[in-house]
Structures are given as C-alpha cells and as structure tokens.
C-alpha cells in the first residue's frame, strides 16, 4: 500500500463499457418491472437492482475494487452507519402498534 512509486492500475476500456451497458440494461429492467404488479416484491426487486447498480459503480467506476482495504472499510462503514440510522429508527415505528393496549389497561 505504501512506498511503491506512483503507479496506478488502469482499467481497460472494455471493462468500463461492459459495466456501462450493464447499468443501462438494469435501469431499463427496473423501470419495466416497476410497471408489473408484484405486490411487496416490487420493493425487493427495485432495491436489489439499485444495490447492484450502486455496487457496480463503486467497484468499477470508483475503483474500489483496486483500492486499499482501508478504503473498502470506509465505504462499508458509511453504508453500515446509514443502515443503523434507518433501521433502528424504523424499529421504533414498527413496534409501536404492538403495545397499543398497555398491560395495565386491560
């Protein structure tokens, strides 16, 4: 990680083009699937596709694939902390109805 002279891994154009086309295809797919009725699965599919796209951008366009473990850790920490914020807050809202009749009111 340290000490080597300035030399950077240069990604071949081919990779960029493949990723680019994949992203476009995924965009089209997710828009089309959005028009089909899948119930709760719409959400799952849309989010999974979004995560896939984001991962592709991070790994290839942002060169995370060739970055140090430290950088990878930073990225992981960012998303992890955001999930703490969202999910733990949501837990409160999900569990509020569970207690709408407190024990002592029965």
């Amino acid at each position: 990680m340290n000490g080597s002279p300035v030399s950077h891994h240069i990604t071949p154009v081919r990779t960029y083009v493949i990723i680019f086309l994949t992203l476009l295809v995924l965009t089209y797919t997710t828009a089309k699937i959005g028009e089909i009725e899948l119930g709760d699965w719409n959400f799952v599919v849309a989010i999974s596709i979004a995560i896939t796209k984001a991962l592709l951008v991070i790994l290839f366009f942002m060169h995370a694939k060739d970055s140090s473990n430290l950088t990878k850790m930073f990225i992981g920490a960012g998303f992890f902390w955001m999930m703490i914020l969202i999910l733990v807050t949501l837990c409160d809202y999900i569990s509020r109805p569970w207690q709408s009749n407190p024990v002592w009111m029965r």
Binding site: P97, S100, N101, P102, W104, M105, R106
Partner: protein
C-alpha cells in the same frame, strides 16, 4: 381521584409537546400532539400532589402546574355526586355522535352506509386489500379524521366525510370513549379519562377515575 383504584389516562395535546408529571407518583409521560398517549397508576395515599408540565412548551411552561387530589373512595363518591355535572364522557360522546351526523351512517348493524361501530374497538378489522388490524385508539382516531387512510373491506372510500379540522381534540376524545363503550366491556379499558395538566383547577382532579368530568386538552396557555 380515589385512592387505591387503578386509573388510566388517555392524553392528547392540541398544540405542542407537553408532559404530564406527578413527582409524588414517580410518573410522567409526554403528550404528543396528533396521537393519544397513555399512562396508568394507582394512588395509595390520600393527599394533594403537584402536577408539573415537564416538557418545555413555550412561554408559560413553568406556569403549567396544578394539583392532583387523591381522596378516600368515600370522599371521592361524595365529591363526584356534588360535581359530576355535565354528564360522563360516554354521554357527551354519544351526543356528539348524533350532532355530527355519524348516526345517519353508522347504525347498530351493518345496514347503514357505513359499518356498525358495535364491537369494533379492540377487535380485528378487515381492511380494503385484505389486510387486517386491531382497531386501537389511533385506528379509531384516524378513521374519523382521515377516513380514507384505511378503508374497511366492502365499503367504498370517499363516502365518509373527512372530519379533519372539524372536531376538536376534546370532541375526538369523547367520540373515542363513546365508540369504545360500544364494544364488549371486557375489551374496553377499565377507564378512560383525560389529563390536561393545565386544566387542573385547584381542588379538582385533572385525571378522572371514570369516564367523567373531562378536562379540556392541554393547550399552551398564552399563545394560540
């Protein structure tokens, strides 16, 4: 308020956050506008205890104080007899139910334009789209002020008028108590009173043991 008896409070606020705090009971709970909040206790010793508003609510936050008077059950019965004037919350709710025209659609069976409200509270309700949920207080509340938020299965949306802004918090509370009274007694909470910390007139209790002597909802004293 009688000593030795369970008391349940259902609290609401019309403006900002307040908090109902009786240090002697070691209890407090915030009043969150837009929701009902609950609290319950059993006072054991007769006496006069401070009520404070504990959630900062503006200019007169420190002025929102009052007393809760705990009496022996006998004294309490006498006091109720002397002061229990304007009818119980259930009665007031029933009156409102007629005044607002709810009766025209909600009959004692499902023959009206709307579903019957008998045995709704505390029971599961089938909603449009097949989901079910237990009709709790906030369900009833939302059913009145946002009828289309959750629509009962088999009924069309947009039939029931939207009462948002037309019923005061106090009126909502009375309707709620009335709707509750239409359910089997075993399911209804032992009591529903309401606490408005501000309302505490020196000797009267702001929290009523039975659905009676309602107090106006907490309101920020000066502004509004």
């Amino acid at each position: 308020m009688p000593a030795g008896r369970d008391v349940a409070l259902t609290m609401a606020s019309e403006d900002v956050l307040h908090s109902f705090f009786v240090p002697a009971f070691r209890l407090k709970h915030d009043l969150v506008p837009g929701t009902f909040q609950h609290m319950g206790f059993r006072a054991t010793k007769p006496g006069r205890y401070h009520i404070f508003c504990a959630e900062y609510c503006g200019t007169d936050h420190s002025g929102m104080i009052g007393w809760v008077t705990v009496m022996t059950p006998v004294d309490y019965a006498n006091w109720m007899a002397a002061n229990g004037g304007s009818g119980s919350m259930v009665e007031q709710g029933e009156r409102l139910f007629q005044q607002m025209g709810c009766v025209s659609c909600h009959l004692s069976n499902d023959s009206g334009r709307g579903p019957t409200l008998n045995n709704v509270y505390g029971h599961p309700v089938q909603l449009e789209g097949g989901k079910t949920m237990i009709a709790d207080e906030s369900y009833i509340r939302n059913a009145i002020i946002y009828p289309n938020l959750r629509v009962v299965n088999g009924y069309k949306r947009d039939i029931m008028p939207n009462y948002q802004g037309q019923i005061s918090e106090e009126g909502l509370m009375q309707l709620l108590v009335y709707v509750k009274s239409l359910s089997e007694p075993s399911k209804t909470p032992a009591a529903a009173g309401k606490a408005g910390a501000r309302a505490a007139a020196p000797a009267a209790s702001p929290a009523s043991a039975r659905p009676s002597s309602p107090a106006p909802p907490a309101r920020r004293p000066l502004q509004q």
